[in-house]
Structures are given as structure tokens and as C-alpha cells.
């Protein structure tokens, strides 16, 4: 037994506590205690990376997840999430033994059953079609049943239902939502099957439909693609321009540096969105133009960071040493400065993607930048605002998705920052 092992854990100096723990604990405990290794919330990075990965997969293969095309008109307009489009249903007296349209068939020669419908609606047509189909099917069967109902047309749903209550008609065919609204007034009636015998709860939409009957959920998923294209392309573009400019300014120095820095600082201090508004307004609506406009905004971010870091690294002793043994500028740039700058670029990139997605959505919300046919969250929000009084789902879900995507990228950047930059640990 060495002295170290006999000592109670409290006496171990704090600096080496975690080293001792690492030797003792298994992999699970290590992961749980990971914050102690890095002093960083690396699980922030883990969770947000998973989220980011999910979003990227959705963006690449939206058709795998989305049930419909983004611009397909697939249902009635303003269908709430979880609600179902109305179907024509059979309404019968409680005492009737029938349940489907087929049950109303009678042997040939007997009085044909009366069925009440509302004039002018599409229930009469649906009833006619359904009855014909069933009739064609059953007249070949040996029972000799026929279904050729008398269709009685009434001016309103109430009259049609009253006819059934009074016994004038054997059943009524009305839209399911209309009967649901009036059910309490007709205690002696019950709802049978839908006309076609299909489910009454078919054709619903997870997140509802918008004003022209597009599926909100499908548009959300397809919107991921547009948002990520904008976010990534804009950030990459500004990285490609900003990083070399920053390196050049740091290396060349002099009046080139001063002039460039003045322009970049002006751009940096100015509200980015407003500049993007001006640029997209001028360039006209298209995805490429949005990307260019947003990229312009973020060039100064990379420029300032890279320039600052390159300037400080340039003065470091090891660069000095490399220079004194005759390393060329390109070599110094490649071997000493670039590797030092990369982690910060990665952090800024991640946060930038988040910011670019927000800005892109903001532009689209203002009606600038993207053509209105593109499935984009900002466009959907602007459209939803017009119907705020009656369709809460049209504005709630696109915004929630933006929040989630931006949060994922931001947290990833934050986590990376804490891991790469130990000085921030204690904050």
C-alpha cells in the first residue's frame, strides 16, 4: 500500500482529482463525468450534433420523410392538426339495425328506401355514386337484393335530419362535421358508417393544412432543405472570401490593411439584416441572391477574427524562429498560422449557419429574397400571419422549426467554443 492510496480522497489536491477518478471508473461513468475532463459541456455538442445531423438528413432526403410534395394541394384548406376532412356519412335512427348503405338494400319489388340529403351539396352525388356501385355489385348475388334509394332533397341539414326523425326517410346522408355539430339536437339519431364504408378518420394531417390545402408538415420538411442550403452556402461563401482577406490584411499590413479594416468595420457595425434587405431588394428574388446578400454580411466576422488571430500568431516566438531559419511566407501561413486559425473558424462557421438561417427566414418573412413558390419557413410564416385569426398552426410550427434548427447550430458552436477555448471554461 502506497501512501497515496491510503490517503482519503479529500486530501488529493484538486488539480489531480479527475485523473484518479479516470483510473477508477468505467467508460459509462467517464462519459457521465465528461464535464470534468474538458471543463466543457461536451454533451451540448453531442446532442446538438445529433440534431444537426437529423436536420441535414432531412434536408438531403426530404421526400423520404415528407408524405406529400411541398406544393401539392392535398386536402381541404385550414384543416387543423389532428382534424379530419368531413366525409359524407349515413345518419340513421337509433332503432334502425342498418349501419352501412348496403344494409338498406331491399328485395326487388319492395318499396325503395328514402334517403334524405341536402340540396346543392356534394352529398347527393356521392350517395348516387355509392348506391349505384353497391347495386351493381349486389344484383348479381343470389339474395336478389337491390339498392335503388329514393333521394329526397332538402334545403338544410336540419330539414334532412328531421325527415329521418319523422320517419319519412330511412336514413340521411350528411357531412360528418355537420352532423357532429347538430348531434345534440337529435338524440334519436346516430351516425352510421361513411358512405364508402371507409374510415371516418382518414385524410387528417399531422400539422394541419394551410390556406390553399397544402400539408404544413410536408412543407416544413421540404423547407429544411432551403434553409440549410441558404445557411451553409452563405457561410461557406463568406468563409471563402473572409478568411483569405483576413490573412492578407494581417500579412500585407500597411494602408491595404487599414482601408480593408475600415470597410469591414463599417459593414460589421451596421445592422446586417437591413443591408441584406437592400441587397436582395436590388438583386431580385432568388435563392442565389439571398445567399450572396447574407454572405456579404458575414465576411467581416471571419475577416476580423482571422486577422486578429493571424496578427497575434505572427508575433509568436515559434513563427519568429521559423522565419529566422528561412521559412517562406507561404510556409509560415500553411504550417503555423492556418492551423491556429482553423478552430475559431469552425466555431464561427457553426454560429454563422445558425445566424444565416435566421436572417434568411427574416428576409423571406419580409417578402424579399425568395420566390413565393419556394417552400420556406419564412414565407410560410408571412402567409400564416394573414390567417392568424383562424389558423394558429400555420404560424406556430414553421417558427418552432426555425427555433430548433438555429438552436442546434448555436449550441454546437457554443460547445465547440468551450472545448477549443479553455479560457472560457470557467464562465
Amino acid at each position: 500500500m502506497t501512501a497515496l492510496q491510503e490517503r482519503p480522497p479529500e486530501d488529493i489536491p484538486e488539480e489531480i482529482t479527475w485523473e484518479v477518478e479516470l483510473q477508477k471508473v468505467g467508460i459509462v461513468r467517464r462519459i457521465l463525468n465528461a464535464r470534468k475532463w474538458y471543463g466543457a459541456d461536451w454533451w451540448f455538442v453531442a446532442i446538438s450534433s445529433v440534431l444537426v445531423a437529423i436536420f441535414i438528413i432531412i434536408a438531403v432526403f426530404p421526400s423520404l420523410f415528407a408524405p406529400y410534395k411541398p406544393d401539392a394541394l392535398v386536402g381541404p384548406s385550414f384543416l387543423a392538426p389532428g382534424a379530419y376532412p368531413p366525409v359524407p356519412v349515413l345518419v340513421l335512427p337509433n332503432i334502425s339495425s342498418a349501419n352501412t348503405l348496403k344494409d338498406l338494400a331491399v328485395p326487388a319489388g319492395q318499396p325503395r328506401p328514402g334517403i334524405s340529403v341536402v340540396q346543392g351539396g356534394n352529398t347527393a352525388g356521392a350517395l348516387n355514386d355509392a348506391a349505384k356501385e353497391i347495386d351493381n355489385q349486389i344484383k348479381t348475388e343470389p339474395e336478389g337484393l337491390r339498392l335503388r334509394p329514393n333521394i329526397d332533397r332538402y334545403a338544410s341539414v336540419e330539414e334532412a335530419l328531421q325527415a329521418v326523425v319523422d320517419g319519412k326517410d330511412a336514413a340521411a346522408v350528411v357531412e360528418s362535421d355537420e352532423f357532429a355539430a347538430l348531434k345534440a339536437q337529435y338524440p334519436t339519431l346516430r351516425q352510421g358508417e361513411s358512405l364508402t364504408g371507409g374510415s371516418k378518420t382518414a385524410g387528417g394531417f399531422l400539422l394541419g393544412t394551410n390556406d390553399i390545402g397544402q400539408d404544413v408538415w410536408s412543407r416544413l420538411l421540404w423547407g429544411t432543405r432551403v434553409a440549410l442550403i441558404i445557411g451553409f452556402s452563405a457561410s461557406i461563401l463568406s468563409l471563402i472570401i473572409g478568411v483569405p482577406l483576413g490573412l492578407m490584411a494581417a500579412f500585407i499590413g500597411g494602408s491595404f490593411d487599414r482601408l480593408l479594416s475600415l470597410v469591414m468595420d463599417s459593414l460589421y457595425a451596421f445592422p446586417g439584416l437591413i443591408l441584406a434587405i437592400a441587397i436582395t431588394a436590388v438583386l431580385g428574388p432568388s435563392i442565389v441572391n439571398v445567399i450572396v446578400a447574407i454572405a456579404v454580411l458575414y465576411i467581416p466576422t471571419y475577416y476580423r477574427m482571422v486577422r486578429g488571430q493571424a496578427l497575434s500568431v505572427k508575433e509568436d516566438v515559434y513563427v519568429e524562429a521559423a522565419r529566422s531559419i528561412g521559412a517562406r511566407s507561404r510556409e509560415i501561413l500553411q504550417r503555423y498560422i492556418f492551423p491556429n486559425v482553423i478552430p475559431s473558424v469552425a466555431i464561427i462557421f457553426s454560429v454563422n449557419v445558425a445566424d444565416a438561417i435566421l436572417t434568411g427566414a427574416g428576409l423571406a418573412f419580409l417578402g424579399l429574397g425568395l420566390p413565393p413558390t419556394v417552400p420556406d419557413w419564412g414565407i410560410d410564416l408571412a402567409r400564416g400571419q394573414r390567417f392568424i385569426q383562424n389558423a394558429w398552426w400555420m404560424i406556430t410550427f414553421p417558427g418552432l422549426t426555425i427555433l430548433l434548427v438555429v438552436l442546434a447550430f448555436t449550441l454546437m458552436g457554443e460547445g465547440l467554443m468551450e472545448i477549443f477555448n479553455p479560457k472560457l471554461r470557467e464562465r
Binding site: A269, F270, I277, A281, G362, F365
Partner: protein, 365 residues
Amino acid sequence: MSPIGFVALIIGIPALVLLGYVLITGSTGLRRYILTRIVLTLPMVLILGSLVFLIMRVVPGDPVSSALGPKGTPEMIQHIREQLGLNDPIIVQYGRFLGHMFTLNFGNSLVGGHRPIADEMSERFPATLELIVPASVLALLIGIFGGAHAASRRKGPVDYAWRIYAVVIYSLPIFWLGLMLQLLFGVKLGWLPISGRIDPIIGTTLVHRTNIYTIDSIISGNWLALKSVLQHLVLPTITLGLILSGIFVRLTRINVIETLSMDYISAARARGIRERVLVYGHALKNALIPIITLIGLQVAILLAGAVLTETVFSWPGMGSYLVERISQRDYNAVQSVIVVFALLVAMISLAVDVIYSLVDPRVRY
């Protein structure tokens, strides 16, 4: 007096007094620094203005023909272009633009009744001011107390809650926050109006003097109008204020944590001063000094947020003016708005620097 003059007086006189005070009492270094800063704001405004001037000119699309629509004959378009000076060589137009910029006169609008842009802005700018001032105050209140609270409970659940608050707020699309508030308080609960600055009927009774409706209604003693104005202010202010508050929480938290680790705090703690007094009295006061400069950097976020907030709430301020005029290709109005915004950013950051030098006697330039 014109509304813009009144607003200029409200902001300008205190600013001039402050500037004069600093220039007279300040050290030579400080004086030189401030004068340099004033001189340096000019290129910034110039660069931004020229940039916008250029991009507005290089692209296709003509404000006159888009304003006249299909009715405009080529002769008419040509005539109006001539009148507005759009047929002059670009360098002449640029010179005129620079002239407008330095006299803050801005010329006439290219669309509608060709009104002077300065007049149009004197209606719009006070609206924006009425929105961003209370929003900034709200953001600062939440930010400073939230940040100090988080710092005092560092690494505890309270701290985590505030950090998550800050990150979530940062990731929130401001226009969506506005929409959600409208949905909840305007549509579902019906407590507050969701658009405009004042009830249109009550608005007719209001005497417009400064175009800052709160001040107008107080001056004229129109309490009904004041109530309506304040009701309309609530949701936009909360929207913009909350979005800004996230950053302030973060900055305050970091600064207070840093200050709390200083020796004099340990000394105070050793003397038995209560933790609450320590955090909110000793640490916060000193942590606020660097925060002042950081506030200056958030002006950009404030203005960008104001544009979106104004659009969501149909608030007739500078932001919605910009968006409106962009769709009509009114170059003059657009570049004027950009110049005013650039001036605002430059002025606020200058003011912040001046205040900083006053508050922190250690800062010497």
C-alpha cells in the same frame, strides 16, 4: 416646429451638453480621442451610403416605370426621370447624393407624391424611437438582473436556466416571437391590439406635435389616447425587448462572474458582507462598466430587430418604411434610411464611448 426638429432637440441638446462637458473637462488625450472618433464616423457613413448608392444603381428595374405601371408611356417616364434627375450621369447623381447626405435633406421621394424624404421620415422616425427606447430599457432590466442573478448562483440550476434562456432567446426568430405574442394576447385572450400605434378612431383626436404618441398625448392631456397608445406599445416592446435581453443576460453574467473572482470581493466576503449585497452592490456596479461598451455593439441587433418587429405589428416606423419603399424601388428613400441608420449606429457607439470614459476614471485615451 417640425416633428423632426423636436426630436432632434430632445436627443441633440443633452448630447451636445454631454459632449461639451467632456470636451471641456476631459484630458487632452480624451479630447483628442473623441474628436478622432467623430471624424472617423464620417467614413463609415460614407462607405455604407456609397455602397447602397452603387448597388441600387447597378441593377435593372426602374422606379418610375414601376410606379406608373402599365399606364406610363415612354414619354411620361422620360419626363419624370428627367425631373427627378435620374437621367444624369451617375457621377452627378452621386455628387447630389453626397450633398443630400451631408445636409441631411435627402431630396424627394421617387414615388407617390414625390414628398421630401425628410418630411416622411419625421413621421416615421419618432415611431421607431418610441419602440426602441422602451424595448432597450426592458432588455437592460432583464439582462442586468438576470445576468447578476445567474452569476450569483453560478453552476446551479438557476444559472443553467438563465443560460438556456439566453441561448433560446438568441435562436428565436424575432418575427415569430411577435406572431406568437399576437396569437396569445391578441387573438386567443383578446387583451391587447396586434397592429398599429393607436386605435384609428382615437387617433383622430390626437394632436400631433412630436409624433411620439406617448409624449403627444401627455402634452395635450388626452388620457384616452395615452391608454390606447400604451396598449399598442406593449406587445412590440416585449417582442423587441426580450430578443435583446438574451445577449445582455449573457454579457452581464460573464462580467459579474469575472468581477466576483476579484480580490476585493473576497476581501469584502471575508469582512462578512452578505452575499446579496456583494453581488448586486459591489460586483454588479463594477461589472456594468464594460457592459456599457458592449451595449453599444448591440445597436445593430436593435435596429435589425426593429425592422422585423415593425413589419409584424404594422408599426409605421423607419423599418416598415424601408421595406415599403424597397418594393417600390424608391432609391432615394432607401439610401436615406440606410444613411440615417448608419448615422444612428455611429452616434450611439460614440455616445457609449464618451459615457464609458466618464463612468470609468481609469480609462485614459
